[in-house]
């Protein structure tokens, strides 16, 4: 058993299998910072996944795929914005509805294409585009180098988006205005910030980012369309990760990997047990069912811990989250 190889592969998988969570989480943070709680992450990712995958394959270009996934997600976000910002619909219910609707679109389009025999497959060049790119020097570091610094382009894009959104929210005029809207839309409105426009823009932006995360899942599954959705519950975990990250896109990167660690134990538990029988041997005796439940158990624990922590210190929770802003009620 190649001990170093097992650890490297474990680290590699933590990144590879969990980056879609980062897209979902960062997207949801942007949406929530505007004071809107969108529970439709799962559905938005599914919509981004199916349209991104199909258009990317037909155009045989990953750029087209990413753009389509972003646009599809953003349009889905536009629907959410229209319902909750303009029509003042309940945000929780609208979000849940959009999850069902998004998954419905996913299966409707996917099954329809397959039944007609036009289901697109990934070309070799697209597959190459999704293969690992090693960062020079960094990827030569023993053990962690290959695990952390040799990944496909969408992994780097996801981390870049997270860092960019952190900078945008924290250090730009627009970010400050957005945070003001999330805290107190009436006050923001009174100093001349266009609340409606900003909400629309950022809901669409956030949902577009989620869409790219869905596209990632489709590519990672090699586009094999079956009865289970590619998103596989990741959208729900992303909603919880937002709280874990305390509404900060940079902490979301850490959150994704902490969470990914437990999520990936299911894949790597057996290998770790065999490679290090002395102190990790017990991993082999853990029932598969516990591994399956682990991500959700961790989610529950994380929610409890962070809500206790947030009570004591400063929380990033936007004060007006989930409340619709109705100008005439000011």
């Amino acid at each position: 058993m190649d001990k170093v190889g097992v650890i490297t592969s474990f680290i590699h998988n933590i990144v590879l299998l969990n980056i879609p969570l980062l897209y979902g989480t960062v997207g949801e943070i942007v949406v929530e910072k505007s004071g809107s709680l969108n529970l439709g992450v799962e559905g938005t990712m599914a919509v981004g996944a199916i349209f991104g995958y199909i258009c990317g394959c037909f155009a045989d270009s990953m750029v087209v795929g990413i753009l389509t996934a972003f646009i599809a997600g953003a349009l889905f976000g536009l629907l959410f914005a229209a319902l909750t910002v303009s029509l003042q619909a309940n945000q929780n219910i609208t979000g849940l509805t959009l999850t069902t609707f998004g998954l419905g679109i996913y299966f409707f389009v996917g099954n329809g294409l397959r039944a007609s025999g036009n289901w697109p497959t990934i070309s070799e060049s697209l597959k190459d585009g999704f293969s690992d790119i090693s960062i020079p020097l960094l990827s030569d570091i023993p053990i962690i180098g290959n695990g952390l610094f040799s990944h496909n382009v969408l992994v780097y894009l996801g981390i870049a988006i997270a860092i960019f959104m952190w900078w945008y929210l924290k250090h730009t005029k627009f970010g400050l205005r957005l945070r003001a809207i999330g805290e107190n839309p009436a006050a923001a409105d009174s100093v001349g910030i266009n609340v409606k426009r900003s909400k629309y823009l950022h809901i669409c932006l956030g949902c577009g980012i989620m869409g790219i995360g869905g596209y990632y899942m489709g590519l990672n599954m090699s586009g094999s369309f079956n009865a289970s959705c590619w998103i596989n519950g990741y959208g729900w975990i992303a909603v919880a990760l937002v709280i874990f990250a305390n509404w900060s896109p940079s902490v979301a990167i850490i959150g994704t990997f902490v969470f990914g660690f437990f999520n990936t134990l299911r894949v790597a538990g057996g290998s770790l047990a065999l490679a290090f029988p002395d102190f990790l041997g017990w991993l082999a005796d853990v029932p598969t069912q516990l591994y399956q439940a682990l991500p959700f158990i961790i989610t529950a624990i994380v929610l409890v811990v962070t809500s206790i922590k947030n009570k004591r210190g400063r929380s990033g929770l936007p004060a007006a989250l989930g409340l619709n802003y109705f100008r005439e009620e000011r």
């Binding site: 058993m1 190649d2 190889g5 097992v6 592969s9 998988n13 299998l17 099954n111 397959r114 039944a115 289901w119 899942m217 990672n220 599954m221 090699s222 094999s224 079956n226 009865a227 289970s228 590619w230 596989n232 299911r266 894949v267 790597a268 057996g270 290998s271 065999l274 490679a275 082999a284 598969t288 069912q289 591994y291 399956q292």
Partner: protein
């Protein structure tokens, strides 16, 4: 008004009875119902295999698939959902209902009592009654053994003794355990040093992890061949991506992974479906189980119910001959997989030699399951209680 309605209903009943009477021409009015776990439009996997089997059987019998087959697909293993699907099919007037997934078992048992005029036939299950409810399954382990021979020969050629196996479950179900054991014994018949690493999904279908598990077996366990007992072709796609080889399951997966796939253990479900439909057309629902001869149909290589898919060009020369010779032994009833006789298969210049030798069949803890020279493990154990791995198999 009441009288009028009563009269109308009575007339309606008369008409519908008349319709029943005229259905003596069994073939033209025979309606087949099917409940699938996945989509009928699938292009690979479990549901695809059954759907192909049912449609092929109907074509062989001269039935019209468009008009005489009724399907409710994507039905999860949830009793209420299955019962609703059954109600739908009975409402459409089907004569026989095939339920293909294990978890349909309780719903089908209940419905068999509720609708005594309809035949219920349950795949992979173990429940039945004496009249209109049977179950069917096959000796997949025999086909697995043959695919194991192909894998074993490939492992000798590549010099890599590590074989991976992505399984839905392990020893929890006799279905998966017997498949893993059959495959492992086949590999060992060719390459006694081979080790089979089993990685369990804990679900019958979980594409995300089917792919991840196969990659883990290749990267961390150094496996050069990936076999599988799960629905999608993800393990074979992963094997191709890593330039190793694989044995699929349920359907020929060579089109999914042309550079990696050797051969798949497959089911010829049409063999059973044809038998069942023929029997059903010639009898009342209540006589079905009697006419079938058994409430539990259990066919194997002999009946051509299970088989291996056509060997791909990735297979080693002589694989064809080795499989042919072992198949003959099984078909003639001279030997079976889980017995106290071990086969040893060697290939030289494309010609295979198969020799028999008495040897204990041991589990991976060293317990003797069948003593040297002993008869095969009973069918009831293979389908119901096999909860061990044979020697050389290890969970990963």
């Amino acid at each position: 008004m009441k009288k009028f309605i009563a009269l109308f209903l009575a007339a309606l009943m008369l008409v519908s009875f008349a319709a029943c009477d005229s259905s003596d021409d069994a073939k033209a009015d025979f309606k087949v119902g099917a409940i699938y776990i996945n989509s009928k439009n699938d292009t690979a996997g479990y549901t695809f295999a059954h759907h192909s089997g049912i449609t092929e059987a109907m074509e062989q019998l001269g039935l019209d698939v468009e008009k005489q087959l009724f399907i409710v697909d994507e039905v999860p293993e949830d009793k209420e959902r299955v019962l609703a699907a059954i109600d739908t099919l009975v409402g459409q007037g089907v004569d026989i209902i095939f339920g293909i997934s294990f978890g349909y078992i309780d719903a089908m048992e209940e419905a068999a009592t509720k609708y005594p005029d309809v035949i219920f036939s349950h795949g992979t299950g173990y429940k039945s009654n004496e009249t209109n409810f049977n179950n069917y399954f096959g000796r997949a382990y025999q086909a697995r053994y043959l695919s194991g021979i192909a894998a074993g020969l490939k492992s000798l050629e590549t010099g890599n003794n590590n074989v991976g196996y992505v399984a839905a479950y392990g020893t929890e179900y006799a279905e998966t355990a017997s498949g893993i054991n059959g495959f492992a014994l086949g590999v060992q018949a060719v390459n006694p040093d081979a080790k089979v690493y089993v990685k369990k999904l804990g679900a019958w279908a979980d594409e995300v992890n089917e792919s991840a598990f196969a990659k883990e077996l290749i990267n961390s366990f150094g496996c050069g061949i990936i076999a599988q007992h799960c629905d999608s072709a993800q393990p074979q796609i992963a094997a191709q991506g890593a330039n190793v080889f694989g044995c699929g399951y349920n359907s020929d997966m060579t089109p999914d992974a042309p550079k990696a796939h050797l051969t798949a253990a497959i089911w010829n479900w049409d063999v059973y479906y044809k038998t069942a439909m023929e029997t059903a057309m010639g009898c009342e629902a209540s006589e079905f189980v009697t006419k079938m001869g058994t409430p539990a149909y259990y066919g194997g290589l002999k009946e051509n119910f299970v088989d291996v898919s056509p060997l791909s060009e990735n297979c080693v020369a002589g694989t064809e001959d080795a499989i042919k010779k072992v198949r003959e032994l099984i078909v003639k009833g001279e030997w079976d997989v889980f017995s106290g006789v071990k086969l040893s298969v060697t290939v030289a210049d494309g010609v295979a030699t198969v020799t028999k030798a008495d040897a204990d069949l041991k589990d991976n803890a060293g317990n003797v399951i069948v003593a040297a020279g002993g008869a095969s493990v009973e069918d009831g154990v293979i389908t119901g209680t096999m909860n061990y791995y044979v020697a050389g198999v290890q969970e990963a």
